[in-house]
């Protein structure tokens, strides 16, 4: 493989890895915020248990979102300096907004939420998690603005050898953005819901003591999954009105991604909306359904990656459609030993950490709400979870 292939593979692998954690973060954050709000209003210990248990899973997942995101952000400068050279004046703006404003606030407020338990006034603590949700979705917006610009460089004009921002409004209302953003948000809610259902089904199947907590969680998860898949499929089809003609023709990778995403997405939509949703009352009790729910948990992650394959491989050979090819965007001084070293480092370390992170999440799920470290009181024995 030459330098270009390795650099592309590096970005594809770290980007996919990043999204696996991001999609769950975006899906779980609003659900945890709703649980926390309910708890603040009701004082009900079941709501507290839900907030802490799902919150713990959310934050362990978030940790990997941060570290994979850092590596992604710096790859633009390390491997793809042609992008900054040609379109830095345009592409840099949403990226700067994402890091400077959205992520800055998200991480600061998440710190306040994680460590502010029993320290912050109750409603300020609730406000912190809602700020986390708001800024996480702000991040998603700016990243999708940047990605949509690559798909369709709206709002920019070519001046000499580079693109200049001429219409910020057009950049923010890119047709490649208006359907894709809700599509991604739908996929995230679907993922969050499916993970909640799978984990709840595990406990209900094994008849662990927290029957009420997981009964409620399973139903919450089902509602989120139903809303999510409906939004994702509707906005998925809406995108065909703005996708350039012939995008998927003769492009095997993009075609496979698109085909299997549609196949799996539609199948799941029918199962969730027509089979599971009508069963919402009995699903927590019908234990024979639970192994199916557990087995379905990985599917939203698979579909998410297929969707990005369709969108990103579908853009080849362009980095910025019609303006800059991927080959031309490659950093001029990048040599084989350099990219090989960073590939081994980034992909190796991040893959190892991702596996550790998933093992930890599975352990938290299996252990259940007893001894959750998140939100523990001083007197409460913590089992280091």
């Amino acid at each position: 493989m030459d330098v270009l292939d390795i650099a592309r593979l590096q970005f594809a692998l770290t980007g996919s890895l990043h999204f696996l954690f991001v999609v769950l973060t975006l899906g779980l954050a609003p659900l945890v915020a709703i649980m926390n709000t309910r708890w603040a209003r009701s004082g009900n210990p079941v709501h507290e248990g839900m907030t802490r248990f799902w919150g713990q899973i959310y934050v362990i997942n978030y940790a990997m979102g941060i570290v994979t995101g850092l590596v992604m952000e710096f790859q633009f400068g390390l491997s793809w300096s042609g992008l900054a050279h040609t379109a830095g004046d345009v592409f840099g703006a949403p990226l700067a907004m994402e890091t400077l404003v959205a992520f800055f606030l998200e991480s600061t407020f998440l710190g306040l939420w994680i460590f502010g338990w029993h320290r912050l006034p109750k409603w300020l603590h609730v406000a912190s998690i809602w700020m986390v949700v708001l800024t996480a979705y702000g991040s998603a917006f700016f990243i999708m603005v940047a990605n949509s610009f690559l798909q369709n460089p709206a709002g920019a004009t070519r001046v000499g050898d580079h693109l200049q921002l001429t219409d910020a409004g057009a950049l923010l209302s890119n047709p490649q953005l208006v359907f894709a953003l809700p599509h991604v948000i739908g996929a995230a809610l679907f993922t969050g819901g499916m993970v909640m259902m799978g984990a709840s089904a595990y406990h209900l199947r094994r008849r662990t003591p927290d029957l009420e907590l997981f009964t409620r969680s399973l139903r919450t998860g089902l509602v989120a999954a139903a809303v999510g898949i409906l939004l994702a499929v509707a906005m998925g089809y809406a995108q065909f009105s703005v996708v350039p003609e012939g995008k998927f023709e003769g492009n095997t990778g993009a075609g496979i991604g698109l085909g299997f995403m549609i196949l799996l997405g539609e199948l799941l939509m029918f199962v969730v909306l027509l089979v599971m949703l009508p069963m919402i009352k009995v699903l927590p009790r019908w234990r024979w359904t639970h192994p199916v729910l557990i087995a379905m948990t990985p599917l939203p992650f698979v579909i998410s990656i297929l969707g990005w394959m369709a969108r990103e491989i579908g853009r080849q050979p362009w980095m910025i459609t019609g303006e800059l090819t991927v080959a031309d965007a490659l950093s001029p001084g990048l040599t084989q030993p350099m990219i090989a070293m960073s590939f081994a480092g980034f992909v190796g370390v991040l893959a190892m950490l991702a596996i550790v992170d998933y093992v930890l999440i599975v352990r938290v799920v299996r252990r259940g709400p007893v001894g959750t470290a998140l939100g523990a009181r001083p007197a409460e024995p913590v089992l280091s979870y």
């Binding site: 900054a84 480092g345 979870y385």
Partner: protein, 243 residues
């Protein structure tokens, strides 16, 4: 507008050194002062509520680098390529250490991730010294390790004064303000030298204005959030720590 953005860039870099400096310093001190498990828990627990709010200063700095100095970003990162890769991996390991350390109660597991916190903090401290040295001299060289050593010592001292203020059982002393100045000094010196060069390489004024208009409404919330962190966690207490 380019002056304003230079001020923002400088504030973020100096703020990162002054704030994340004590987090990394405590990571550096961990194997030397963390005699037993309780002491290590106390040391990490002391920085825990601040780490997330502190490390974002660098993430924001990278965002400004891409948005305001797009031509420099690629140039600088590419010139420092191997160093940037090592620093990123150090950062990733330090963070993973903090998040993972207390998730499984086995001694070997904790020791492994405590070592990751130390190595990650060391890699970042030495890396920053080498990076600043390279930016000042124009080329990456092993001589920069000397500045790396200074940064590591300054961070460790900053961590020491922070712990002294934070933990009653800790013998540390000295003013955290003074150690913050010391920790940020190398960054300040390089910034003073590079100010002209940065101004010359700013993005076009239309981009700077657009970015400025987008950031301004959020600036009070960003400052407010950082202030809230210090107001909430400024006084040490006995709450169990997640990290």
């Amino acid at each position: 507008m380019d002056i304003v953005w230079l001020a923002v860039f400088s504030a973020l870099l100096i703020g990162y050194f002054a704030l994340e400096g004590f987090d990394l310093g405590v990571g550096l001190l961990l194997p030397f002062l963390g005699r037993d498990r309780d002491r290590r828990d106390a040391m990490i627990g002391a920085i825990a509520p601040f780490v997330l709010a502190n490390e974002v200063w660098l993430v924001a700095l990278a965002g400004v680098l891409f948005g305001v100095y797009p031509s420099l970003e690629a140039e600088v990162l590419l010139a420092l390529y191997p160093l940037v890769v090592v620093m990123l991996l150090s950062w990733v390991l330090r963070d993973a250490g903090l998040w993972f350390r207390r998730r499984i109660p086995a001694q070997g597991w904790r020791s492994f991730w405590e070592f990751a916190i130390f190595i990650g903090s060391l890699g970042l401290a030495l890396g920053w010294g080498m990076a600043l040295f390279a930016l000042a001299t124009g080329s990456l060289s092993w001589t920069g390790l000397a500045l790396g050593g200074f940064v590591a010592v300054a961070f460790a001292y900053h961590g020491w004064t922070f712990l002294g203020r934070r933990l009653t059982s800790f013998p540390g002393g000295g003013s955290p303000w003074l150690s913050a100045v010391l920790a940020a000094a190398p960054a300040v010196i390089v910034l003073v030298g590079a100010a002209g060069y940065l101004l010359e390489h700013s993005a076009p004024s239309a981009t700077l204005t657009t970015l400025g208009l987008m950031v301004v409404p959020f600036a009070p919330i960003m400052v407010g959030a950082q202030v809230l962190v210090w107001r909430t966690f400024g006084k040490a207490d006995r709450m169990p720590s997640f990290f």
